[in-house]
Every structure is written in structure tokens, then in C-alpha cells.
């Protein structure tokens, strides 16, 4: 079956190029160690808007425009816009699509959206269905808090294993031709439920999905984990990364120092008091499209496996006693 290899992996014959990216982060993320790798750091977490939802939409549009500008493209030259976010009915993505005027496919993969967008975009380009695809995702700490947890001014205490939703947006422009890192393979994950019920410990809920997709990728492609500069999970955080490492080593995959998590890179966990690390759609998006992309352009990296993870619950499902299912998609990026 042509481009599909093994159980879940697609090898791309003409690997699509990430020709440009755009990233915007909130003021808090701008105090983190990766601040210099983002195109814009907001000074106002509302970005001059009257609500957090409008602010999220505004930064998503900004990130898209930055990606287009960096490549010298106008929105009319883009065939498809693939985007998603965490807010109910993915309103940030669809309202941004209204503003950009590009034919739109809305995605929902919770925090795995960055990888989902890259994966579907790459398949569409390699399949000859499009020439240029813009993919983007966003999250906003306060918009997510009020939807998933408590009102933002509510005085509750956070758990040590809780993660901090990243305020930001990341966009990437994919093309069949051009300069930049290429997407050589994509592994779409299965939804897994390992019995997690605590919506505050999403790292633990997502770790088995990440491990499953990573194992699947290596079995399908026959590659060795050590031949990657970086195997980067999306937002497992400290607890999730530890659990994922355990799961992998039980299956005979012992990952070394090249195994990292975007959620552990974006904040200074000593100083910023974010507990187990960052999370949210924007977490893997801004780290990959900002920091990792720049390291690719500086030739510091040549082969990276991005494994963005998503927790697929809603406040309604967990209140009704359902477990938290999770997913992970892997994207092989190579210069």
C-alpha cells in the first residue's frame, strides 16, 4: 500500500518542507529560557482584547500572519489552513480561519494538534492535493483555566503534578518545495485509556499514548532511537515523561538524554513555579516552531522526532466518571 509502512506510519516520498514558522507567546512564557526563540512576546496577556478567548484568537492570527510574512506569502497563495485549539468547538481556529480567508479544515487533537496539523498537512502535500498548507494551533492559560478548571481569580491550590497551560500560538507553513527542515514520516497514534481519572494529572494520562506511538514509529520504520538528535514529546511534563520513559524501557526501548519534553523546556521550573511543566496546544507548537525550528536553521539539529500528546477528555466526561483517553502523533523532521 504505497506510502504506508508497518502498522501506522506513512513515509513521504517527496518530503514536504517547513518553509517558515510564526510564534507568539504570553508574557509569562517570555520570562522562560526559550524567550529569544519566539517571534513575539506579548506584554499584555489579554493582547488588548476584552476576553481571554478573543486574546487567544488574536495571537493565533498573529502567528499565522508571521509565518506567511516570513515566507513572503499572502494568504491567497495558501491552499489549505489546518488548525485547532482547546476551546469548545475549536473557536480560536475557526474564527481565525474566517479572518484569514483560507479554505479551512478544523482539527481537534487537544494538545497533540501541532503534530496532527503537520502530519495531515504533510500527507496532503505529498499526495499532490495541495502546494502550500498553513497549519497552526494555540492555547491561552486563562481561557483554558476557566473552561477546564476554575474561574481565574479563584483562590485554589495547585497540585505538585499539575501542569501550566502555555499562552501562545504557533504556525508553520508547509510547501512541496523550498528551504527548511522536511517532514519525512508521520505516525498517527491510537486513542488509549490506561485508567487515569485525574484531569489535573494529564501527563500520567498521556504517557502511555506517547510510549505506544514512539514504539510503533520505531517498529514501523526500523530506525534506532539513538540515531535521532532529539525525541521530543509535546507536553508530558515531569511526571508524564518519567512514566513514558518507564513504559518504553519495559518494552526494550531505553531512551537516553535525547529524550525530552517541550513542557519541561519552555519554563524555568525552579523560578517560575509551574510545578510539573508546561502543557496546552501551544506548548509543543511554540517550542517546535520557535526553538526547534531555529536550531534546525542553525544546523544544530538534523533529525528530530516530535511526539505531541493530547488528552481527549472534556469537563463533562470526567464529571460523568469517564476515564481520560489520550493520543499521540509522531512527526519525523529532518534537515
Amino acid at each position: 500500500m504505497g506510502k504506508k509502512t508497518g502498522k501506522q506510519t506513512y513515509l513521504l516520498t517527496n518530503p514536504p518542507v517547513i518553509i517558515s514558522t510564526g510564534t507568539v507567546v504570553g508574557p509569562f512564557e517570555g520570562c522562560g529560557p526559550l524567550a529569544e526563540d519566539f517571534d513575539e512576546v506579548l506584554t499584555d496577556i489579554r493582547d488588548g482584547q476584552s476576553s481571554f478567548e478573543k486574546a487567544e484568537r488574536s495571537i493565533l492570527i498573529k502567528a499565522c500572519r508571521l509565518a506567511l510574512d516570513h515566507a513572503g506569502f499572502s494568504s491567497t497563495q495558501v491552499d489549505l489552513f489546518l488548525a485547532g485549539d482547546l476551546l469548545n468547538q475549536i473557536v480560536s481556529a475557526s474564527f481565525s480561519a474566517l479572518e484569514l480567508g483560507i479554505p479551512f479544515l478544523g482539527l481537534y487533537g487537544a494538545c497533540s494538534t501541532a503534530a496532527l496539523g503537520l502530519g495531515i498537512g504533510a500527507l496532503l502535500l505529498d499526495g499532490g492535493f495541495a502546494e502550500t498548507v498553513l497549519t497552526a494551533t494555540s492555547s491561552h492559560n486563562l481561557a483554558a483555566e476557566r473552561q477546564y478548571r476554575y474561574p481565574t481569580e479563584y483562590g485554589g491550590q495547585r497540585r505538585a503534578y499539575q501542569q501550566w497551560t502555555v499562552t501562545g500560538a504557533g504556525a508553520a507553513l508547509l510547501s512541496t518545495t523550498g528551504e527548511g527542515p522536511r517532514i519525512t514520516a508521520v505516525t498517527f497514534g491510537k486513542v488509549l485509556d490506561l485508567g487515569s481519572t485525574d484531569p489535573l494529572n494529564m501527563g500520567a494520562a498521556m504517557a502511555p499514548a506517547a510510549a505506544d506511538t514512539i514504539i510503533c514509529f520505531f517498529q514501523d520504520t526500523g530506525w534506532d532511537p539513538n540515531s535521532f538528535d532529539l525525541i521530543l514529546t509535546g507536553d508530558l511534563g515531569q511526571i508524564g515523561l518519567e512514566l513514558c520513559r518507564q513504559e518504553l524501557s519495559e518494552q526494550g526501548f531505553n531512551l537516553g538524554d535525547n529524550f525530552m519534553d517541550c513542557g519541561l523546556m519552555i519554563y524555568d521550573r525552579e523560578k517560575q513555579d509551574v510545578h510539573a511543566g508546561g502543557s496546552g496546544c501551544a506548548c509543543s507548537a511554540v517550542v517546535t516552531f520557535g526553538h526547534i525550528y531555529r536550531r534546525f536553521m542553525k544546523k544544530e539539529l538534523s533529525r528530530v522526532l516530535l511526539v505531541a500528546t493530547g488528552s481527549l477528555h472534556s469537563p463533562t466526561t470526567y464529571q460523568q466518571g469517564e476515564n481520560i483517553p489520550a493520543i499521540a502523533h509522531a512527526i519525523w523532521i529532518e534537515s
Binding site: S50, S51, R146, Y150, P151, T152, E153, Y154, G155, G156, Q157, R158, R159, A160, Y161, D193, L194, G195, S196, T197, N201, A204, P208, I239, E242, L243, Q246, Q319, Q320, G321, E322, N323
Partner: protein, 151 residues
């Protein structure tokens, strides 16, 4: 909200999660809640004495304006964006007294102002405080009933 029965694989994984999950610092939380809760009570007592002295009221009646003042302070600190920062350290010390109730109402009301005065602020104001009110009223009703029967 019945919990689902876990399969052996799920149980095995959840046992691993419990090993990795950090435990809360119970001693530290309890100590901070004791100190901060105590300070809130001291402030409450100072207010009762003050109102009793200024308004020349018996202490039982002076507690009403004192409670109202504490609610006002909780609401004001929430509006100024300070309450959640204090509560991060104080925990139950600020949540259990009436200040916590004020915070939960004002935080909800503030949060939903963008959705309008009716469907936003008014409808969502008791989002967090609702269960407290419901259980408070139900408990009061039962106690009142028992009191009437066995008096």
C-alpha cells in the same frame, strides 16, 4: 458519576502512576492553613470588638457587621487580583472562613462578565458557591426539623 471498573493493565499502570506522583506537603500545608486561618479569625475578633465598642452593640450582634466586613475584604482582594496569590500559600486558611466563600462568588462573577449581566454574571455567580449554599440550606432544614420534633 460512577467510576469505571479498571482492567488489570489499567490497574497496573495506575499503581505506577501513584509511585511517581509527588505527594503534597501535608505538614507544610496544615501549618500554613493553621497560621493564616488563625490570623483571619483574629481579624474577625478584632472587628467584632471594634463594632461592639463603636456601635455599642452586644458581641453577638456585632458579629454581623464583622462578617460583612470580612466578606467585603475577601471580595475586594479577589477583585484586586490578590486573593488567589495569598490563597496559594494559605490554602484552607483562607478558603474555609467566609473569605473563601466571598472569593468563590466574586471570582465566578468577574470571570463571566464578558458573557453579559444575565447569562454571565448572574447565572454563573454561584458556580462554585452553589453546592455550599445547597448543602447549607438542606442541613439547616434537617437540623431545624429535628429541633422542632425533639424540643
Amino acid at each position: 458519576m460512577a467510576k469505571k471498573k479498571l482492567t488489570p493493565a489499567q490497574r497496573k499502570y495506575q499503581a505506577k502512576v501513584r509511585q511517581v506522583e509527588p505527594r503534597p506537603h501535608y505538614l507544610r500545608h496544615t501549618f500554613l492553613a493553621f497560621i493564616s486561618g488563625g490570623l483571619v479569625c483574629v481579624l474577625g475578633q478584632v472587628l467584632i470588638d471594634l463594632y461592639s465598642w463603636i456601635l455599642n452593640l452586644p458581641p453577638e450582634e456585632a458579629s454581623n457587621p464583622a462578617v460583612a466586613t470580612m466578606i467585603f475584604l475577601g471580595a475586594l482582594l479577589t477583585g484586586l487580583g490578590v486573593f488567589d496569590k495569598l490563597a496559594k500559600y494559605a490554602g484552607a486558611g483562607l478558603a474555609v472562613p467566609v473569605t473563601g466563600f466571598a472569593n468563590s462568588v466574586v471570582a465566578s462573577a468577574l470571570e463571566f462578565r464578558e458573557e453579559g449581566l444575565i447569562y454571565g454574571v448572574s447565572a454563573k455567580m454561584f458556580l462554585l458557591a452553589g453546592p455550599v449554599i445547597t448543602f447549607g440550606v438542606v442541613t439547616a432544614f434537617i437540623i431545624g426539623l429535628l429541633y422542632a420534633i425533639f424540643q
